[in-house]
Symmetry: C2
Subunit: 457 residues, 2 copies
């Protein structure tokens, strides 16, 4: 093979710095999940195809990566079907497994399969890769990690309150201030549709409303008219286009607008509980903002809907989202289990932290010191010190070969190792080590215990 090897489009190699930074984000999220009582589960990378197919719509089915059966897979395809040469029809005959498309359906499958071992309400988190045969483009990959936390088995709104706190806690720890947690409620959207007499057009109406940010009031109205939403209905919608002010003011306006809709008022009541409780408990750095245009994932959310926006100074869009769904496990024959969950958008959070220079300098798995190799006798002396340093939890390494000093120093330099240690015959005799600060160039002669003390800092 003479051409340079490559990886499939839409996938990525991660170098040490990238892995370390990604793990830093994962660890902050994991620690916070655990602080909030969530416990980790993991599911297989591939599921039986029947578990995944039909759960994400037609487009989703197309984007699921299917795994070819092993062995003589064509022998199971009957000749008549084979002669049609129809990719769609043959797929289920030659492929029985598929790569995970998200963490939600495998979680639902897990809950149903292990229901007798699970203590409900079940608070689980899951951080694993998912795969989608999407057209790769900037910021969209065919393999990426999802970070989800969900509770199933309780309808309590305290969980929504905790998820708002959890978002605040994670982004505060990451140093990402001024994050906006937007919240809406499916019942409010249904209530509005009811009030304006467009119940049958709920999806069209919310899809259009969701674009207010992007296409403005006139654009939204144009799209609604195209979907045959009446002028009378648009008239009634007017207050939404100038929906401003504090959460309290918005709640008042919504109460006024939705007073004839029982469902709508239920949504207002839920939103009010969450907003007022968060006001009493306080948030550290994030703010909670009612946004009635938010319609994310409306097809399955039934209560609260969340979306987190990065600080306005970075142009990144949503870095997290979630909501309440009332029948997650119904698809696997276990109906009426209410759940609520949120997720973090790792790749975007990474880009935001990078852009704002928020990764701590100490996020590094790098060695603290490189011992220069002057030959086997000196290397043994060095290795004795290195062994002791490692036992003390200090990252140190020996350059493996006794090559030219310049090459060894160059290695320390390129690897950004902050100190080198030189120990030749003279140092061995005096039971000393020469410690060199690679940045300042300063050198000092130290005993082992001084060495350990200086490198431990």
């Amino acid at each position: 093979m003479s051409k340079k090897p490559s990886i499939p489009k839409g996938t990525r190699d991660f170098n040490p710095e990238e892995v370390t930074r990604r793990n830093y984000i994962f660890n902050v999220i994991k620690e916070t999940f655990a602080l909030y009582g969530f416990q980790p589960i993991e599911t297989p990378s591939f599921e039986n195809s029947e578990t995944l197919m039909g759960k994400y719509g037609e487009e989703g089915d197309r984007l699921i990566f299917k795994i070819l059966n092993s062995g003589d897979f064509l022998s199971k395809v009957d000749d008549k079907l084979y002669s049609e040469k129809d990719s769609n029809k043959i797929t289920t005959k030659i492929s029985e497994k598929a790569l995970r498309y998200d963490l939600t359906v495998p979680f639902a499958r897990y809950v149903v399969q292990h229901q007798n071992q699970i203590t409900f309400p079940f608070k689980r988190y899951q951080i694993q890769p998912v795969w989608r045969a999407d057209r790769p483009q900037k910021g969209r990959f065919r393999e990426f990690f999802q970070c989800d936390a969900d509770v199933v088995g309780s309808t309590s709104l305290w969980q929504e309150v905790e998820f708002v706190q959890l978002y605040d806690a994670v982004f505060t720890k990451l140093g990402l201030k001024d994050v906006t947690i937007k919240i809406n409620n499916r019942k409010i959207l249904s209530g509005i549709a009811e009030t304006i007499g467009a119940e049958d057009k709920l999806i069209d109406f919310t899809v259009a409303l969701d674009k207010l940010d992007k296409i403005g009031e006139d654009g939204v109205k144009k799209e609604m008219r195209e979907k045959s939403i009446s002028e009378d209905a648009l008239q009634k919608l007017q207050p939404l286009f100038s929906f401003k002010g504090s959460n309290d003011e918005k709640l008042n306006a919504l109460s006024e607008m939705l007073k004839t809709s029982e469902l709508g008022m239920k949504g207002v009541e839920e939103l009010e509980f969450i907003a007022k409780t968060i006001e009493k408990l306080g948030l550290q750095t994030a703010s909670l903002q009612i946004d009635v245009t938010l319609a994310r994932g409306l097809n399955y959310y039934t209560g609260a809907i969340f979306e987190v926006s990065a600080p306005a100074e970075v142009n990144m869009g949503s870095i997290g989202g979630g909501g309440r769904y009332d029948d997650l496990t119904g698809i696997f024959g276990m109906p009426n289990i209410s759940g609520v969950g949120i997720s973090f958008g790792l790749d975007r959070i990474y880009l935001v932290l990078e852009e704002l220079n928020l990764f701590p300098k100490t996020v590094s798995e790098n060695s603290k010191a490189l011992f220069i190799n002057f030959g086997n006798k000196e290397a043994l002396y060095a290795m004795e010190a290195i062994t002791n340093l490692r036992n003390a939890g200090i990252k140190a390494e020996l350059y493996p070969d006794d090559t030219k000093m310049g090459k060894q120093m160059g290695y320390a330099d390129k690897r950004n190792i902050p100190f080198t240690v030189l120990a030749g015959e003279k140092e061995m005799e005096a039971q000393q080590y020469t410690l060199k600060d690679m940045k300042s160039g300063a050198q000092s002669s130290v005993s082992y215990s001084e060495l350990e003390k200086m490198l431990a800092q």
Copy 2:
């Protein structure tokens, strides 16, 4: 879907306890890798098929999971080929990607692809799942994690020395004492083959010798005779069957046996350097043992060969292995890069720690306290305390619903949460909390700061 959902055979769900225990092992290994100067990389779960195919032998090619192309994949198969209905021939036409089979080939691909960004010697570790379409059986899975550390770009034996130390450090931290690190050298095996005049039968001869533990001296000799190894050769081999004693004694016997083989003597010299250096540096709990029957992965190892055995009291076999290879990246057009690496067998280490009851009790992501929910007013009082506890790094949670106390207590019990906190009207008035130890049943009335102090322990 009415039948209970399931997962593909050979795959596993991991519940919170299992994930936590697996992460405990991973973390010990990762921390130790970092202490030794290794840095993490990650590669995509699937590679271009041409990267993987042909690298693991015919059997390996068969066991690689192939991913079906998306869209109308049959349209790219010409009618003539299609009409043959030959699974083998059609595979490369309908599948261009395949799941990672191990971490070694993707690592070689990574090194070649990114050679201009890498500082050599390159010390990397990688902990990711791999997939094999093997027949599932006890302890053998179709998806499992590999934990590998390798150095490429140096032939220095100090690296072998460090890997012995690294094994010792990891197993010592895991509390797994009396692990045996067996070491051999490909050059010694080649030297023996040379000495007995069976150079052309090196593989047959070492495959047979490797079974000494299992089938005994007579079994090995029988197999060698079947492979047409001469009686004269068997005669010369005799010392190997009673190869006992200290590493020093074994080295002396090998020197005697291999004195006419230059290559063999080079192997003895290498083994001697590693064994003597380890003797000087000392190991914490493991022992290093020369084992000339060890032939693991002989097809690609060219120098040292390692294998780690669990303590004799558990019947588990190898829990780690590795060795030196001289041409890892040659398959991708970058020749003469020497490397040496080791890996840890996570699943087996897990079983050993479980059998010996070595998982620390504190390995748990579990909440420290469950606050009982007496209704919204009381829950707010509880949530204020919970918020403060979480800010102090203490895991705590509120039962989401104000259901019967028995049910809430039962939840704490089943989840093994050690404390419950009760705060009703009386406690709220007194600004107190009733803390209940779920094991002893003891209750005490405490202030918030006392509560935090007690739960922090």
